[in-house]
């Protein structure tokens, strides 16, 4: 039988039972559209995160107190709330003398209650040196960022994010207004520009930045730092700058055995790799679930094809009586199965692409304007190939059953 005739014969069978064909491939449609959507959203998320990280500045290095001695991505104890007091002003001074480093931002973090008139909310705040805004690329929408003088004089000022501005002030302009953060009364001097969801998933606009001197001495009563953000000199590569940061800190902390490091250094590249591996793992996990749904869909196709073979036993007998070989019958039923799953795959790709596009529009509007639609061609190619392959894998058994029928027994079938 010619290939053209196999296609024609299979198409005629598929077309004849449109509703049954549609129900048969529904599992494939759902499976493929899920794979497409997950791969598209995963890819968009990855691109968004990379964009966000690059926006913050890919030449940043972070220092966190406490050592992390596991894998590259293990977090130090300080990341889980353990108080470690090893990062001090001496470290900052030593780092500032290092030629591969341009700037060092000292930071402390705290949790507190912020109040404006009758509105209040709990919030994570940051005490930072004035270079925080330049190094972390935080621009002002209203007012100004506090200055080194504000930090030196321990002025009671604050820069707030647009989310907390909305929570506390609604539509009122917050500039010049007084808020209370725990024991401190602060004057809002600046409102930062909207940044959206950060690479770690947190709202970057729900924040308060205050002078580090104020946070350390008046609110927290400490003299160490929770975090250093270091801007590397572009003239040096990041790997070198990172290694220099480690060397300097080992010197100031008098550490000779690297296993005893009491600090953790991460570059933005490390963060990028970590986030990439997390989103990659999530995409792989969700794709695995989608693949399971494809297998379930495939079993559905096999089930219906087996029923179809039984229902069409006399047709098989007739075809054999007029000259069809086992191979002709096998090809006909196998092609029917592949045609069904491929049509399901095409519908799935169409639905997947359409929904991915609609979801990206929603995320772009409500999460961040930086979220863009991304459809990896590999996802479409893989989906199309997998759907056809599903047809072959799950169609081969029913097709063999059809081909093995003896012509006379098939003709006698009631």
């Amino acid at each position: 039988m010619r290939f053209r005739d196999t296609v024609k014969t299979s198409y005629s069978s598929v077309r004849h039972g449109k509703l049954r064909s549609f129900l048969t491939v529904l599992g494939i449609v759902i499976g493929i559209s899920s794979v497409i959507m997950l791969m598209s959203i995963g890819d968009s998320a990855q691109q968004y995160i990379i964009g966000q990280v690059k926006g913050i500045g890919s030449n940043l290095i972070f220092v966190i107190p406490g050592g992390s001695h596991g894998s590259k991505f293990s977090a130090p104890a300080s990341a889980f709330g353990v108080i470690i007091k090893t990062l001090a002003q001496g470290d900052v001074n030593a780092l500032e003398r290092e030629p591969s480093i341009i700037d060092v931002v000292s930071q402390v973090n705290g949790q507190g209650r912020v109040v404006y008139q009758s509105n209040d909310t709990s919030i994570s705040y940051t005490g930072a040196t004035a270079n925080y805004f330049a190094v972390r690329d935080v621009a002002m929408d209203k007012g100004y960022a506090f200055t080194p003088e504000d930090v030196a004089s321990m002025n009671q000022v604050a820069v707030i994010g647009p989310t907390i501005a909305k929570t506390l002030f609604g539509d009122i302009n917050p500039i010049g207004k007084s808020i209370r953060l725990d024991s401190a009364s602060l004057r809002v001097v600046g409102v930062a520009e909207k940044k959206g969801i950060g690479p770690g998933g947190a709202d970057q606009d729900n924040m308060i930045i205050i002078p580090i001197s104020l946070a350390q001495k008046q609110i927290l009563g400490i003299n160490y730092f929770n975090w250093l953000t270091i801007k590397a000199n572009d003239a040096y590569n990041m790997e070198f700058a990172t290694s220099r940061v480690i060397s300097v800190l080992r010197q100031t902390h008098r550490i000779t055995n690297p296993d005893k490091d009491d600090f953790t250094v991460r570059s933005m590249e490390d963060e990028l790799a970590l986030l990439g591996s997390i989103t990659g793992a999530m995409t792989a996990f969700l794709t695995a679930i989608a693949v399971i749904s494809l297998i379930v869909g495939g079993i559905g196709v096999m089930n219906i094809m087996l029923v179809s073979v039984i229902e069409r036993t006399r047709e098989i007998g007739l075809r054999k009586s007029i000259g069809a070989t086992n191979s002709d019958i096998m090809k006909q039923f196998l092609f029917e199965s592949v045609m069904l799953t491929s049509i399901g795959g095409l519908i799935g790709v169409f639905i997947g692409v359409t929904f991915s596009f609609l979801i990206s529009i929603v995320l772009n509007k409500f999460v961040s304007p930086d979220w863009v639609f991304s459809m990896p061609i590999s996802a479409v190619v893989i989906a199309a190939a997998v759907s056809s392959l599903t047809g072959i894998v799950f169609g081969i058994y029913p097709a063999r059953e059809a081909a093995r029928k003896s012509p006379i027994e098939a003709l006698r079938y009631e």
Partner: protein, 236 residues
């Protein structure tokens, strides 16, 4: 054209054996119109299935156009069925979802006949059974007589040497049955060999030769009409 010698067929079912054919011996010449009659279970349909290569005998010898069936593979049998044999069944065995044209085309799909020739061959076959005006009608919408005529057109489309018909009038009223038998008569007059299984005496009388089966054996082989034929099978 057909030569069978000591043909036997035994069916095995759940450990028990049924002797469907036993020691059947006869010859059929090209162009003959042969009826096979017998009561239910006499083995007439089994004989037709073996003769038409749909089933293999358990023993004995069967030569079709000097080819020994025992030496032919399943692939050879399929090719011979396609190129040299035509089939007409009691239940028509048409594909109801397909049109008359598409049903008649079926044997051509499994043949080496170039696609360019299909259209003409299909139209000729359909025209020979008088259904040209229903060429594109779905066969599910035809009457019983029309369906059997489509089945005959399908059997004819490959210009077979022989036509096997298994109770072709069994599902038809007497008028339609008579029309179908007239078509067989015409085909035979054109030189086509026809082997027909029936339990109706009226239908069997259209043949020139009658084989009677009983209990799997050939009970009688009698010539019921005298027809003189040349080597080509055509009537003189």
């Amino acid at each position: 054209m057909i030569s069978v010698k000591d043909l036997t067929k035994v069916y095995e079912n759940d450990g028990s054996e049924t002797q469907a054919l036993s020691g059947v011996t006869f010859e059929i010449k090209k162009g003959e119109f042969v009826s096979i009659m017998g009561p239910s279970g006499s083995g007439k349909s089994t004989l037709l299935h073996v003769l038409s290569f749909l089933d293999r005998p358990s023993g004995g010898e069967y030569k079709y156009m000097d080819k020994d069936m025992n030496s032919l593979t399943d692939l050879d049998l399929a090719r011979i069925r396609n190129e040299s044999m035509g089939f007409v069944f009691q239940a028509f065995n048409l594909l109801g979802r397909l049109s008359v044209y598409e049903n008649v085309e079926l044997p051509l799909l499994y043949s080496d006949v170039p696609i360019a020739k299909h259209d003409e061959m299909i139209k000729n076959a359909v025209s020979s059974v008088g259904l040209s005006e229903k060429l594109l009608v779905d066969t599910s919408r035809l009457s019983g007589g029309e369906k059997q005529r489509v089945a005959i057109a399908r059997a004819l489309v490959n210009s077979p040497d022989i036509i096997f018909a298994d109770e072709p009038t069994g599902n038809l009223d007497s008028k339609s049955g008579a029309q179908i038998m007239e078509i067989f008569n015409k085909l035979n007059n054109e030189g086509r060999t026809i082997i027909l299984v029936t339990h109706e005496t009226y239908t069997a009388q259209f043949a020139e030769r009658l084989l009677k089966m009983k209990d799997g054996k050939l009970e009688s082989d009698e010539r019921i009409q005298k027809r003189r034929r040349g080597q080509d099978g055509l009537l003189k």
